[in-house]
Assembly symmetry: C2
Homo-oligomer: 242 residues x 2
DNA sequence: GCATCCCTATGTCATACGTTAATGCGAAAG
DNA sequence: CTTTCGCATTAACGTATGACATAGGGATGC
């Protein structure tokens, strides 16, 4: 019954893929259909509750929040296998907007039908919880990065994150990966200004750590990059209660 | 079967309260027990996968991450009704540490037994998804605040958040609320230095917006505070399943 | 061909914030 | 009563980052 996304070994995502259907009846029940989003277009704009849930079948994008004064915060990146719209489906509004940075193909299903399957298949409910927890984990990491690290480490962190996911998805060829973002997107993710992000990227280039040209990014020194990005989390002083 | 926490109108939390048991057999099945955490002590230290899940019955605390160089990032605050340990229960490790800032009473249950009820009660599965989504909503908000706003607005945001939750829980008396945190905690939440947080609080005091003494905080000018905090502070409301 | 647009690149200057250090103050300890 | 400790408070100074300005490089269109 559960159809796992072939493109998503990373998140083990239990999604419904309309193209490799195993259970046509279930898909009919869920009213699954395909949605295409062109680069620059948005799909689930913030403010409104969402009657639909989506799974990313292909393409890349990002979710961001637009603030009162025009400031923008990118929450995270979207890659094939990601499951979006949960907030909008469960809360009264989904607090952010989904924007495509490449042509993105989504698998769409209806909220009401989707949650109905919880009753039929508890394992899927657990999978959804797992997804939400992964998301939470990432956001905590992002919070720590933005809150505590200097610009160069933030940028390195973002690149390492994207690389890691791209690798797991088979989108990256070794240390070269697709990078269909503008520097403004990176800046808005990391809480930096565009100019400073640019300068930081220049520094990374001068240090011969990464090279970025034309929607593709190459990591020339993975060791250095991960040293910059990764030293963050360390086991805390442990005082076991149990 | 579901026993809702009397203390938690805000999150409508579907928790098991061992003190108002309606279903003794279920509680036995879940091996529920009570856990007390003294101020300063920690539970669920980061790094280890957690075999237990907790619900906060009373007291306050926070979750934070400790980083390599000793830096600390507070992820969020904990109040009665909060459900913790989901990441540790679902992922291989829970990325942060839970720390009590007052004496905290927790309701503990075993991971394996807990998830088993998904099969028996799909509504509870939906509730857990709802909880995770609320968490996600908050983290996105925090990310935008830390990433984009200046110090004074960050502090105002944090205070407004806590006030809102305390109000909903009946912990606040009008514009006076418990505030059992050190300024360091606030600083680590907001990605600011201790000193700068202090100065910002002093500014807010001079502006006659908030006064803070002895674990209690009084909002003297709610209008001003909310104007500073931004309209972002809307609570995550629940969306009925049907 | 030129013009326009969007984005990247780089320099100069301004400032919000971090760092260090010293002071004070109440609570707990001896 | 004095000491110590944890935490709040302020001041002086340094710096990472933001703001502004300008130029350059492809694209796309006429």
């Amino acid at each position: 019954m559960a159809v796992h996304c072939a493109e998503c070994p990373l998140r083990r995502l239990p999604i419904f893929d309309p193209f490799s259907a195993e259970d046509v009846a279930l898909m009919e029940e869920l009213k699954i259909r395909e949605t295409v989003v062109e680069p620059g277009a948005t799909v689930l704009d913030q403010g409104s509750p969402a009657p639909y849930l989506f799974t990313v079948l292909s393409g890349m994008g990002l979710r961001h929040v637009r603030m009162a004064d025009g400031k923008r915060q990118v929450i995270n990146f979207l890659m094939p296998g990601d499951f979006i719209g949960l907030q909008g489906a469960v809360l009264e509004d989904m607090g952010h907007t989904i924007e495509a940075t490449t042509r993105m193909v989504l698998c769409t299903f209806r909220r009401d039908r989707f949650f109905r399957i919880f009753a039929q298949n508890p394992q899927r409910a657990y999978d959804v919880v797992w997804l939400a927890a992964s998301e939470e984990h990432f956001l905590g990491d992002a919070l720590a990065t933005i809150g505590q690290l200097p610009a160069i480490e933030r940028v390195a962190w973002a690149i390492a994150q994207i690389h890691q996911r791209a690798l797991a998805l088979g989108l990256a060829l070794g240390d070269t990966m697709p990078f269909p973002y503008r520097q403004q997107d990176l800046a808005d993710l990391l809480g930096l200004s565009l100019v400073h992000t640019n300068k930081t990227l220049a520094r990374l280039r001068e240090m011969d750590i990464v090279v970025w040209r034309n929607d593709a990014l190459h990591i020339r020194d993975p060791g250095q990059l991960h040293r910059l990005a990764g030293a963050e989390i360390e086991p805390a002083r442990n005082r076991p209660l149990l």
